[in-house]
């Protein structure tokens, strides 16, 4: 028995402890660094990072491993991850944060937004989009968990400048909860194989095809916003593209009849609309090179953002003559619009500007009579480039109504206002609804759909093929050496929130444990005393063995 008791001490006398010295660090090194699951995981959407015509925009990095702070507890010299509600943010604060080395997480407030909120959010969005920063910027959708986190951060006492004394400030900083924010995404790299698709198709009029005048109907189908994954672009330009698909569907029926119009109608769903209309530009160049489709164009009708208002504006670069085909069509549109009427807005093309205002300007530059129909009065309206433009804010009834008016005017024009020949056309709401749903229920940021055979492009292609002839897709790719545009990967990541304690807390805990263990020690010593006490009540007996069974344990708070 005694021999056995020595075995343990013999183990200690051999080299065993030495082996432990080697084995334990090895074990530490080999085990994963961060094995615990975070208390919360959120999906976050990275802000845009792209370059266009030589200038770069957006945020350049993606990795965060920082402590969280709210806008209030953040100070400009610290390196932290700032959580802020988008409608509570100012351009000045953004500039301070973006010039530092922390990170920014923007919380999109819960819908519905008031007009005031919208304005502030759009202002922030445009500020960030037009800037170029090295800190990671993410957006996160509002949820109750995010809200709790925000409240905790706002009340955080880690830095409490109002504490009455140094001791109080110390206690606060020990008891405070901190949050460590970790986003371990890949490093953003240049996105390869970007191909912006432009889909075209046509309806051929009655007569000798090449001799007929043509009408071009153009709408871009991509979207834009601060975060690519959140850019649904419902109004701009889901509504325009949906109306184009609807026109294609209805006109294909008109063209199937015997007395079809003596016009060719060409439909162009252009990509890259948010990249200075590069899709249209590329398409025009291709057409100019290889064919004469652009020889006899009556007018080019561009559709952009037709879902926000019943007013329709016609944006032109050069006012049309009243007797031109474009002038006639606008008159007809004006008549059909009723009391509001069509308002023509004339804006000259600003060749000095980096970007064009409307898509029709791409055609006007090539001296094609062109105009854009839109519910927006000005091209400066930032809601065309916002994450707020979602299907929730789009009123499909208005899109439907605008589609009907445009269709009616167009059919009248195709039959040269000859009312006796004009067939009755009917738009059904359901087919508009379905093409809208196809477009606006998914984010359509250029970089997300700019691949050959992206499902959305395939869907649009097969839809166009169903109604139109000569449907084909042309791809615009960036030049390898001097790209006109480029995008970077990582549009989405997982943000992990760990609750942590300040380092000094660990030291305090060690002290508390030491005190507790001392109490345990005395408790163990105390057990034999109780034992002796009990013995004293029965029969005096020499107690040799000190300890008794039951020991330790203190309740501990």
């Amino acid at each position: 028995m005694l021999g056995e008791s020595d075995e343990f001490s013999e183990i200690l006398k051999t080299g065993f402890p030495m082996y432990l010295l080697i084995a334990i660090p090895l074990l530490l090194v080999m085990s994963p660094v961060c094995p615990a699951n975070a208390a919360h995981e959120f999906t976050v959407y990275r802000a845009q990072q792209y370059s266009l015509q030589g200038a770069t925009y957006g945020s350049k990095s993606s990795i965060i491993n920082l402590e969280a702070r709210s806008l209030k507890t953040w100070s400009s010299r610290s390196r932290h991850c700032v959580f802020v509600l988008m409608d509570n943010f100012t351009t000045e604060a953004y500039e301070q944060i973006s010039s530092g080395s922390g990170a920014l997480v923007l919380v999109v407030p819960p819908t519905p937004h008031t007009r005031d909120q919208q304005n502030r959010m759009i202002e922030i969005e445009q500020t960030i989009l037009s800037s170029d920063t090295s800190i990671p910027i993410y957006m996160i959708n509002w949820s109750t968990e995010v809200n709790d986190l925000m409240n905790d951060l706002a009340d955080s006492k880690i830095i409490d400048e109002n504490a009455s004394s140094a001791a109080k400030a110390f206690i606060n900083s020990v008891s405070a909860n901190g949050y460590q924010i970790v986003v371990s995404a890949n490093k953003p790299v240049l996105q390869q194989n970007i191909a912006i698709s432009t889909i075209q198709g046509q309806l051929i009029g009655y007569g000798f095809q090449d001799k007929l005048p043509s009408i071009l109907i153009v709408a871009h189908y991509d979207s834009f916003g601060l975060a690519p994954e959140l850019s649904y672009g419902a109004d701009s330009n889901g509504s325009g593209a949906a109306i184009l698909l609807l026109l294609a569907k209805i006109l294909s029926r008109v063209y199937a009849e015997k007395n079809r119009p003596k016009y060719n109608v060409m439909f162009i769903l252009s990509g890259g609309g948010k990249l200075n209309y590069l899709g249209s530009k590329n398409w025009i160049e291709q057409q100019m090179e290889k064919s004469n489709t652009l020889q006899d164009v009556s007018f080019v009708l561009c559709l952009d953002s037709l879902g926000s208002d019943k007013n329709i504006f016609a944006h032109v670069s050069k006012p049309p003559k009243d007797d031109s085909k474009m002038g006639n069509f606008m008159n007809e549109l004006n008549n059909n619009l009723g009391e509001n009427g069509l308002k023509i807005i004339h804006k000259k093309i600003n060749l000095g500007s980096d970007t064009l205002a409307w898509e029709h300007e791409r055609y006007s530059i090539r001296r094609l009579p062109a105009f854009t129909l839109s519910s927006l009065k000005s091209h400066k309206n930032s809601s065309r480039r916002s994450i707020l433009d979602t299907s929730e804010t789009l009123d499909s009834k208005i899109v439907y109504r605008n589609a009907q008016i445009i269709l009616k005017s167009l059919v009248a024009h195709l039959y040269d206002y000859n009312t006796s020949e004009t067939p009755k056309v009917n738009v059904d709401f359901e087919s508009l609804r379905s093409s809208l749903d196809l477009l606006v229920l998914q984010p359509r940021s250029t970089q997300m759909i700019a691949q050959k055979n992206h499902p959305l492009v395939d869907n649009l292609f097969s839809l166009m093929s169903k109604y139109l002839k000569d449907v084909n897709v042309s791809h615009l790719t960036a030049d390898k050496v001097d790209p006109q545009f480029s995008f970077y990967t990582v549009t989405k990541a997982t943000l992990q929130v760990y609750s942590v304690k300040p380092a000094v807390f660990d030291l305090i805990l060690t002290l508390a444990i030491a005190v507790y263990l001392t109490m345990v020690y005395f408790f163990i010593q105390f057990v034999p005393i109780v034992y002796d006490l009990y013995i004293g009540t029965s029969k005096p007996e020499p107690v040799v063995s000190l300890p008794k069974k039951n020991n330790r344990k203190e309740k501990q708070r």
Partner: protein, 232 residues
């Protein structure tokens, strides 16, 4: 949270076991390998319990904290612990107090090794801070006391001379009641906590008080019996 925090938790977990082992003077009895044998029996007992649970209570349809006959039967499987401790007591040729202490410490030691160490390794070392690891450690300390007490009760219960104690109330019945109270300790306290929505810190406090209370009563009987049979 960090390796440092892990160190804190491990200290909190193991030092009381070490102190108990040391101040019970078990090393004088060569009890180290016997503690390990006790641990092996513990492991075997837990395996048997798992087999029984998996066979007779296949789906955990109700949460553990609700009061129901199924849950009561489920926690009755813990009676196997008594059998396990009994086997240890029978197979250890130690004498007197050391025998009971060895069984209790071996049992508790195996429990913390098997149920706590991995939890701490995975949890307390991560980035996330959570009080539950500290709480688990404190709870293990209480469990150590609990297991020693249970071992002493089983020892008392197995003694034929227990009935020789003079008492108004049958000592055998009293010890049996204490045994049942200690086996059903966790189910009693857990359902109480779920019913009254007690916070984790108070649960630990309640467990501690409960265990000390049972321990003091048990110690009374233990002292009288050991005095009776002249053991120290």
């Amino acid at each position: 949270m960090t390796l440092y925090h892990f160190g804190n938790c491990v200290t909190l977990l193991y030092v009381p076991h070490y102190l108990t082992y040391k101040y019970a003077n078990l090393s004088e009895y060569g009890a180290f390998w016997k503690c390990i044998q006790g641990g092996i029996i513990y492991t075997f007992t837990q395996l048997c319990k798992m087999l029984i649970l998996a066979t007779f209570f296949p789906a955990n349809e109700a949460s553990i904290t609700t009061l129901s006959l199924t849950n009561f039967l489920k926690s009755s499987v813990d009676l196997a612990d008594i059998a396990g401790i009994y086997v240890i007591l029978q197979s250890i040729p130690g004498k007197g107090h050391a025998k009971v202490m060895t069984a209790g410490i071996g049992w508790a030691g195996a429990e913390i090794l098997l149920t706590r160490f991995l939890l701490l390794w995975v949890g307390a070392r991560g980035t996330e801070f959570d009080w539950k690891y500290t709480q688990k450690c404190l709870e293990s300390n209480i469990n150590l006391m609990h297991h020693i007490m249970t071992a002493a009760l089983v020892w008392l219960w197995s003694r034929h001379d227990l009935s020789k104690l003079q008492s108004k109330f049958s000592p055998f019945a009293a010890v049996s009641i204490l045994l049942l109270l200690s086996v059903y300790r966790s189910v009693i306290i857990d359902s109480l906590a779920a019913w009254l929505l007690i916070d984790p810190w108070s649960i630990i406090a309640i467990k501690g008080v409960y265990t000390i209370f049972l321990g003091l009563i048990m110690l009374k009987y233990y002292t009288r019996l050991s005095t009776l049979i002249g053991m120290y």
